[in-house]
Symmetry: C2
Subunit: 323 residues, 2 copies
C-alpha cells in the first residue's frame, strides 16, 4: 500500500469527536478554543528525510522546525510552541551535537515567535525527530483548509520552486555543484528552507479560499487541493517560477526544468487558491504571489498545460514513497 493510499484510508475512517473543528487530512488539525488551537506533527528520519553527510546538525534542527511551522503557515495560524521528540543511537550525539541541533531549532522557532516548550529523548536505531507545532487562530473559522477552492479562482505560489530538489542533486554530486551558478543558494534551499508563516497569515486575512504548503511538489499538492475542494486545477507549466540556478541544474541532469521544479517538493512555499479580489488584497499586504494556474469546475484533480496546450501529467506527481 502506498503512503497516499494509506493516508486516504486513515482520513476516510477517522472518527471526529466534538471539539475537533478539523481533523485528519489537512496540513494541521483545528481544535475549538479561544483562540482556536492548531496542531501538526511531522517526523524526520535519518537517511529518509536527511543525510548526515549532506547537512549539519544545525541544518537538521532548522529543517525539522521548518516543516512543522510550514504546516501552521498553510492554515494561516500563528505559531506558539513546538514539542520535539528526539531518538538517537547511543553515542551518536555528544553534548556539542545536542547543542547544535537545538540551536537550529531555537533560532527558527524564535524567528517566528514560538517556544520549544517540551519534548522527549530516547535511544533509537537512527537519528529521528518528531516535531509537533502548536499555533493559534483567533477564530476556528479563520482556518484556511485545502477544501475551499472555487471555479474561477487563480492558483498561486508564494515563491520560486525547484531550489530544494536542485540542492539535493548538488549534494549528491559535488562535482556538479562546482559547475553551476547559485550552488550555495540551492544547497541552502534544501537544508534551510524558510517556512512562509507571515505570508500564510496575510493570505488568510486576505480571504484565501484554500491553501497548503508545497512539501511534496506543486503537482502532487495541487492535485490534493483539487480533490479536497472537488474542483479541477489547471497548472500552466510555463508559469512555474524557477529558483535561480534550477534551469542550469536541470540542464546538467538532462531533465525538464519546469517539471523538475513542479515535482521536486520540499520548497515549503504556499500554494493558494483565491479570487481576483483576494489576489489583489494579498499583494497589497505585501505577499509576493506567482499565478501558476486556475481553478475550474469538474471534480477531476490536476490538469497540465504547456505552451497553451494540454500535456499529460508525469507518472510521479511528487514525493510519495511507499510505507
Amino acid at each position: 500500500m502506498s503512503e497516499l493510499e494509506l493516508l486516504d484510508r486513515i482520513a476516510r475512517t477517522s472518527v471526529r469527536r466534538a471539539g475537533t473543528v478539523l481533523g485528519v487530512g489537512d496540513d494541521a488539525a483545528v481544535l475549538e478554543g479561544a483562540p482556536a488551537i492548531v496542531v501538526t506533527t511531522d517526523l524526520l528520519v535519518e537517511d529518509v528525510h536527511f543525510r548526515r553527510a549532506h547537512c549539519t546538525l544545525r541544518d537538521i534542527g532548522h529543517k525539522a522546525v521548518a516543516v512543522s511551522l510550514s504546516d501552521l503557515a498553510a492554515m494561516g495560524a500563528a505559531p506558539r510552541a513546538l514539542f520535539v521528540g528526539l531518538a538517537a543511537p547511543a553515542g551518536a550525539l555528544d553534548t556539542a551535537g545536542h547543542d547544535e541541533l537545538r540551536a537550529g531549532m531555537d533560532a527558527l522557532a524564535a524567528a517566528h515567535g514560538a517556544t520549544i516548550a517540551g519534548g522527549d529523548l530516547t535511544r533509537g536505531p537512527a537519528l529521528m525527530l518528531a516535531v509537533t507545532a502548536v499555533g493559534t487562530l483567533d477564530d476556528p473559522s479563520d482556518a484556511v483548509t485545502r477544501a475551499g477552492a472555487h471555479p474561477g479562482d487563480v492558483l498561486a505560489v508564494t515563491g520560486p520552486l525547484g531550489g530544494a530538489v536542485a540542492g539535493r542533486a548538488l549534494a549528491d554530486d559535488p562535482d556538479l555543484a562546482g559547475r553551476v551558478p547559485d550552488a550555495a543558494a540551492l544547497r541552502a534551499a534544501d537544508s534551510r528552507p524558510q517556512p512562509r508563516v507571515s505570508a500564510g497569515r496575510r493570505l488568510a486575512t486576505a480571504g484565501a479560499h484554500a491553501m497548503l504548503d508545497c512539501s511534496d511538489g506543486l503537482l502532487l499538492d495541487a492535485d490534493r487541493l483539487a480533490r479536497a475542494s472537488g474542483v479541477r486545477v489547471v497548472v500552466d507549466l510555463d508559469a512555474v517560477p524557477l529558483a535561480a540556478g534550477v534551469a542550469a541544474v536541470a540542464d546538467a541532469l538532462g531533465r525538464e526544468a519546469d517539471l523538475m521544479a513542479a515535482t521536486g517538493g520540499e520548497d515549503f512555499e504556499l500554494i493558494v487558491a483565491l479570487d481576483e479580489g483576494g489576489l489583489a488584497r494579498a499583494r497589497a499586504a505585501g505577499v509576493g504571489l506567482h499565478v501558476v494556474g486556475s481553478i475550474e469546475a469538474g471534480a477531476d484533480g490536476l490538469r497540465l498545460r504547456r505552451h497553451g496546450r494540454p500535456v499529460a501529467p508525469p507518472r510521479e506527481l511528487g514525493w510519495a514513497h511507499d510505507v
Copy 2:
C-alpha cells in the same frame, strides 16, 4: 551524558517566551488560552520501549496513547486530541497491522474523550511512534506541576505498583509465567497500562499541591518531585502497595518486592503530594489513594525508610537509560 543530565541541561537552558505558562521540565507544557492548552509528546521505539515478540500491535497502539494521556493526567488536564507520528520499515506493517495499531490507539483515546486528530507516516529503520497529546484546563493556574509540594504534605499513589515490571519479567521468561499466580493481569499491566485521567482531574480539583505520573519508577519520580519542589520526600517502603502477583515474581527472581515495585516504572499511577484536607477531599471524590510517604523541609531529594528505619536508596532509582 545520561538522559537525566541531558534533560536537566535542556530544562536549565530553555528559553520561555510570552504565552508559555509552563515549559520544559514537567509532565506537560501549559500555554495560555481559554481554556489553557496542555501539550505533551512521547516517543515509543521498538526494542527500546516495546518488543514485537512480547505484545500485539493493538497493545503497542494502546500503550503509545496511554503514555501521553498519563502525562496529561499528571497535570490535571482533560484530554482533547492526539497526534501520531508513525515510522515503520518497508513492509513491516500491512493494512491489517495498521488497522490493529490504530484500533489500540482509537479505543483508548475514545475511552478518555479524545480524538486522533492528525499525524504523519514515514519509513524508518524500526517501528516508532511519536504521540503528542493535547488537553485543556479551564485556567492555566489549575495545572498541577511537580513543584508545589509543601513540608507536612503526604505523598500518595493512586494504585498498586510493580505490575508492569513483573509483567515484563514474565514476558522475558514464559516458564516463570506458568509458575506464578496473576500472570495474565501482570502481563496486562505491562502491555495495556491504564492512564489515570479521571483521578488526575479529581486530584487537581481536590487541591493537590504537586503531581507527576509514575512512568520511570516511584523512587526516581518522587525524587524529581522533591527536587522540583525544593523539599525532601521520605518514602516508606513498607507502605508501597504491591500489585497482585508482584511478590511471587520478585521471590522467583530473588529480588525484594518493595524495591522492585518502587523502581520498576511504567505503572502509570499518579504520584501526588497533598495536605490532609486535600487527601480527604480526593478520597471523598472517589480517588483511591495509598499514602506512601511524607514531605519534609530540606531540599535534598529522596530518603527511604523500611521497618521504621532509614535505608540507603538503591543505586538505580528507576528507569533511566543513557542517550
